[in-house]
Symmetry: C2
């Protein structure tokens, strides 16, 4: 029985892959993934067969992987983790006619963690992860989650803050958050995590409202206790210092 | 200038460490950590000096690390990620009189991701991570977060579900969740992730209410779309299959 591995490759640099992710890819014959992620890891696995495809080709990509996995050990690579807004779920959902494929999920460092480490320790307490992409989720559901997560005083980590067709979604999310979180709430922005042009900045929630993010950006909105210290964004766990 | 690294070592097995975490520890002279985590990684870094201490010694442990880091490259190890309910924040908070210590955070695979991978793909959509430990957080805050996260239809990942002094907290959390989530909501339980006695099971939210968890357990409560397929817990992103 051939195996299919859904592998989280972390933010992008080889060093931030787990040893298990590296070993898994080395033991596979075929690597399937979004073009950008394939290009990132190709130099480290140059003897492998890569099958890459573009954005919004997720379903076709998973079917390709499931088909290859009937005969060859196959890896589907995902940026960050294998399961967080990634391909693990879709692979399982599409696996109905592939009883002979053994599915395995290999976790990786998602942007909430890799971006958090760049900023310091923003996720030191309870947090919510929310994607602003309404491609597959009703916008009203997203807005309601932003509202309730703010009311709960969660640290909020925002994935997919912007794209061409929804350039004002981050601004709208800030409007909601500003009803429950203070204007000077500490917010961290990280872009191109673990890549050569990595960028970070720490601003306030009222400044975030006018920030122009792109799709490679992850945003951290602090809770009421989050503060800035020596350039680091820190949310205390509650230890008395 | 010596360096202090706060390193997330992942769930426990060597293979689930990132290459960066491994390289970092190899480049340090002193490794500081909670006794259990030190014992787990000692076999792989047997030439290092380990300084271990027990539970609730977090502040002392961080001070020890900051002191060592004045002269030697030092790693503070954390289970899972370095920042999620871990030591990165406390190290930064305590760093006031250590201007000569360069602090670096190395992220790792937190239990939400490693446990999620064991179960399938529970975190395929927006989620909240909540600790039930009220050692450092008022219980009312925790209860309010459970309530609002349920109202928002987040997948909820519960850390520290139980301990000696709060054996009924998971039951109480379920009572709150059951007001907003259905009785048959799919819930995943993972214990001793990545260790020799790893255990998983998938049950309903009404069954979770009577489940006896321990402190090595991570719990995943699905959203309204989460379902069970071929033994996997899956939360669809929304792709039409």
């Amino acid at each position: 029985m051939a195996k299919l591995f859904v592998v989280g490759i972390g933010p992008g640099d080889y060093e931030q892959m787990t040893l298990k992710a590296i070993n898994t890819i080395n033991n596979c014959d075929v690597i399937v993934g979004y073009t950008v992620y394939c290009e990132i890891i190709k130099p480290y696995f140059s003897d492998k067969k890569f099958i890459s495809s573009g954005m919004r080709q997720e379903k076709e990509r998973c079917m390709t992987a499931l088909n290859f996995a009937q005969n060859q050990n196959t890896a589907v690579i995902c940026s960050g983790d294998a399961g967080v807004y990634a391909m693990a779920g879709l692979i399982i959902e599409l696996s109905d006619n592939f009883d002979n494929v053994d599915i395995n999920i290999i976790p990786g460092v998602t942007a909430a963690l890799s971006g958090g480490a760049v900023l310091g320790a923003p996720l030191g307490h309870d947090f919510a992860v929310i994607s602003l992409s309404d491609l597959l989720t009703p916008y009203s559901v997203i807005q309601n989650r932003i509202k309730l997560a703010s009311q709960a005083d969660f640290i909020i980590c925002i994935y997919n803050p912007s794209s061409k067709n929804r350039s004002d979604y981050l601004k709208k999310a800030c409007d909601i958050m500003l009803k429950y979180k203070k204007e000077d709430t500490v917010c961290g922005i990280v872009k191109n995590i673990g890549r050569c042009n990595e960028f970070k900045t720490i601003i306030t929630l009222s400044e975030l409202k006018n920030y122009s993010a792109d799709m490679f950006t992850t945003i951290f909105v602090g809770n009421s206790k989050t503060y800035l210290k020596n350039g680091f964004m820190v949310t205390p766990r509650g230890y008395i210092v």
